[in-house]
Amino acid sequence: MSGSVVDNTVSSGNSSVAIPTDISGQILDIDEDDDLEVFSKDTTLSDGSSLNASMQTSSASMINQYKFEEEEEDADTKDIFVTVDNPESHVTAIETYITYRVETKTTRSEFDSSEFEVRRRYQDFLWLKGRLEEAHPTLIVHPLPEKFVMKGMVERFNEDFIETRRSALHKFLNKIAEHPIFSSSEDFKIFLTAGSGELTSHKKQGPGFLSRMGETVKAVAAAVRGVRGRPQEFTDMQEYAEAFSQKISSIDKVTQRIVREQKEYLEELKECGPTYALWSQSEEELAEPLKNVAGCVDKCCKETEEQVKHLNDHLIPVLHEYVLCADTLKAVLRRRDNIQADFEVKTEALATKKADRDADSKVLSLAWDSLVGRSPEEVKQQKQQKLKGEIKEMRDELDKVEDRLEWANNALKSDWTRWQKGMRTDLRSAFNDTAERNVSYYEKCLAVWESFLQSQRTDAEGNGNVDFS
């Protein structure tokens, strides 16, 4: 494979797939029973023939699951279940790290068995994410929890941190499993099933460092130049991504602030109960109601503590995920832009070359070649031949890039819609849960104070005092 175009990382075997030149109009319906092959970005076929010719006759099966919109999360049709749990710490001479149990239950035929259990560490998740992003630069990969906690390494092994991370990793894998394209990734399969030795050796495969470097250099060059003719819809997406990023970050910050204020409120409230209790010790008649109030305040404290914990454990992680998602959106759009920039550069280069060919070859070259002892006609012929060859190469290259661009655009558009749906579901559910939890919090506190009133009522009636108006 040449290092110039390819950026997929599918391991040996299932690499060759054909791509129709015009994807935008065609959405192929695939029955779930069909053998779904991973749709790689490899636009060169193993036999090296050009794209157009091999369009209809790919040796490998082809899929094109672009019907993202209809992809509902049906429990009935879900055929793979992934769980991340059971963190364990491992101590070696050089480092300490945590591994998580990853359990897979599936009925998919491409899996050798129906149940798998492996242990994975954070690095492995990072690797998987990297592979998926490389294979599908314009698809939206759900973010991983962050590498380090700001406060310092010591926090890495804090119970809460581990639990938060575990939960995020679980979500990550499930998002992958739900994704029509990602879930059929070979890397994903290996991640779920391979023993640690097998995984390590698999990780070593894939495009070498140099080819990846080559890609990066080109990417930077394209990025620096910038894209010129970006379609409006992608500009719209860009604007949305910017705005969404701002809003979700704000909400994240507001929520964190609420948690902080609640915690400080809790600190003060914790002193109220004991003060009432202290007071009750100096009183006779009032001792009972004061003790009662002390108890009520303490109970409300507990409820407040629970409520804060819920915010911390449920709403904040989700918001955080989507802050990271916003960055992913921007990155995906950037990568799409880079592909388009690359296409534009190559288009220009081809045009320039063609202009060269059509222009008269003039003085300089003739002068030089006469020095070398060749006839002007010969030189001219040689030149024309050379140019013709170059142009053909460039056109082939350009066609590849054009297809790649079209591919990227369509993939992005579909995945964008899919992502938005997912975002809506996730955030709706998170806010809904929070609101519900808050209602429950107030209901519990209400019950506490009503029982106090009740006790005072029965007391009053017992003592003969009246007037509760």
Partner: protein
């Protein structure tokens, strides 16, 4: 509500019912106004005056509804009245005035005396003070109190004419001096201790409450930011827009609701404050009792020593140390005439001393009797009032919870439509 309360409590003491001014007269502090004028050192000052309205109870019940009598008083005049009552009835737990300066304030409330909220709460406190005095079995029949309510001009002069100021000054001096009672009355010592504890614990409670109120305010107000951001976010979303927007409104409502909640809590704080100051009044009674007892002990001690001197002079033995005794030992005894004169003087002093002791003893007994009756009355009132306060606190909390439930249920509905 307070008036009715007081009146109903009055029915617990049927014999004193007739005495209660409140039974005859409706009293209220209806308004507050700012005035400017020249003060004692001829400088311009701004102060607040309060309108006291009174109306005979019968007239109102007859349905004629006459215009109430009214006059204006400022805070310093209330203070004067109270000081007069303190001096004149040292054995009574005199109802306290609302605080002079705003204390235990949480950040949103102003500590400024001119702040309208503070003035309003003070108005209520002053009315409360008058009602308390008017429903007290002893204080309500005081003439100075009555003229405070009814005679705008010349009241100050009337008060000073009673000469209470002199008594006040000497009392104050004595109270501020350190003295030790030989046989402290156990009951009063316990009461004083209780007063100390009550003051300490209510102060603590008020402090903690103020800090918690501050924090709670923060929690609610930050939710207002949700409102703003949700609204902005809804602008870029299609399907989610409506749900977000309306949820945002509810977040704004939630943030706004804390103002009412905390205002209600201020009333509860005021009720606690009243008893904080009552604790002080209670301690004052105990302290005055101590003084009374001390003075009795001093008089008794003095009498004893005089009697002893007489005995020595009469028998010739010197038991008590005196300079005269030493000098006479050194320089010779006195002449019989001198001794005779001395004895006579001592007799007179002893007679006077015995009178004094009798007087002071009676004073003390009277004090103890009256004080203890009032302390019992105070205890009952305190237990009743504070229990009511706790109940109203619970009712406030319930109301706050109900509001919370409503807002978050509404928000939940909006979220589910997102």
């Amino acid at each position: 509500m307070r008036e009715r309360e007081m009146q109903s409590r009055g029915t617990d003491m049927p014999t004193q019912e007739r005495k209660l001014l409140l039974k005859k007269m409706e009293i209220s502090v209806a308004e507050a106004e700012k005035r400017t004028g020249k003060n004692a050192v001829n400088m311009q000052e701004t102060y607040t005056v309060y309108l006291i309205e009174t109306r005979p109870v019968d007239a109102a019940s007859e349905g004629t509804n006459p215009v109430p009598d009214s006059l204006w008083r400022r805070y310093s005049e209330f203070e004067l009245l109270r000081n007069y009552l303190l001096v004149t009835y040292p054995f009574l737990v005199v109802p306290p005035l609302p605080e002079k300066r705003a204390e235990f304030v949480w950040h949103k409330l102003s500590a400024d005396n001119m702040d309208p909220d503070f003035v309003e709460r003070r108005r209520v406190g002053l009315e409360n003070f008058l009602l308390r005095v008017a429903s007290h079995p002893d204080l309500s029949s005081d003439k100075i109190f009555y003229s405070f309510l009814t005679e705008e001009n010349g009241w100050k002069e009337t008060v000073f004419e009673t000469g209470f100021q002199a008594k006040a000054d000497s009392r104050l001096k004595a109270l501020n001096a350190t003295f030790r009672v030989k046989n402290p009355d156990k009951r009063f010592a316990e009461m004083k201790h209780y007063g100390d504890e009550l003051q300490s614990v209510i102060s603590q409670l008020l402090r903690v409450r103020a800090r918690a109120a501050d924090r709670l305010y923060g929690v609610y107000k930050v939710h207002g930011n949700y409102g703003r951001v949700f609204s902005e976010w809804s602008a870029i979303e299609k399907e989610m827009g409506d749900g977000l927007q309306s949820a945002g409104h509810h977040m704004d409502a939630y943030a706004a609701s804390v103002d009412d909640i905390l205002e209600e809590e201020e009333h509860y704080a005021d009720q606690l404050k009243e008893y904080l100051f009552y604790a002080d009044a209670l301690r004052a009674v105990c302290r005055k009792h101590e003084l009374t007892q001390y003075e009795l002990e001093m008089a008794a001690q003095d009498l004893t020593s005089k009697k002893q001197q007489r005995e020595e002079l009469a028998t010739g033995t010197i038991r008590t140390f005196s300079l005269k005794g030493v000098t006479s030992k050194l320089f010779g005894q006195e002449t019989p005439e001198q001794r005779e004169a001395k004895l006579k003087m001592l007799e007179t002093q002893i007679e006077e001393g015995e009178e004094l002791v009798k007087e002071r003893n009676a004073e003390c007994e009277e004090f103890v009797k009256s004080a203890w009756v009032d302390i019992e009355r105070f205890k009952e009132q305190k237990d009743h009032d504070l229990r009511e306060a706790l109940i109203s606190y619970a009712i406030m909390q319930i109301s706050m919870c109900k509001k919370g439930i409503q807002v978050w249920n509404n928000a939940k509905e909006c979220f589910s439509k997102m």
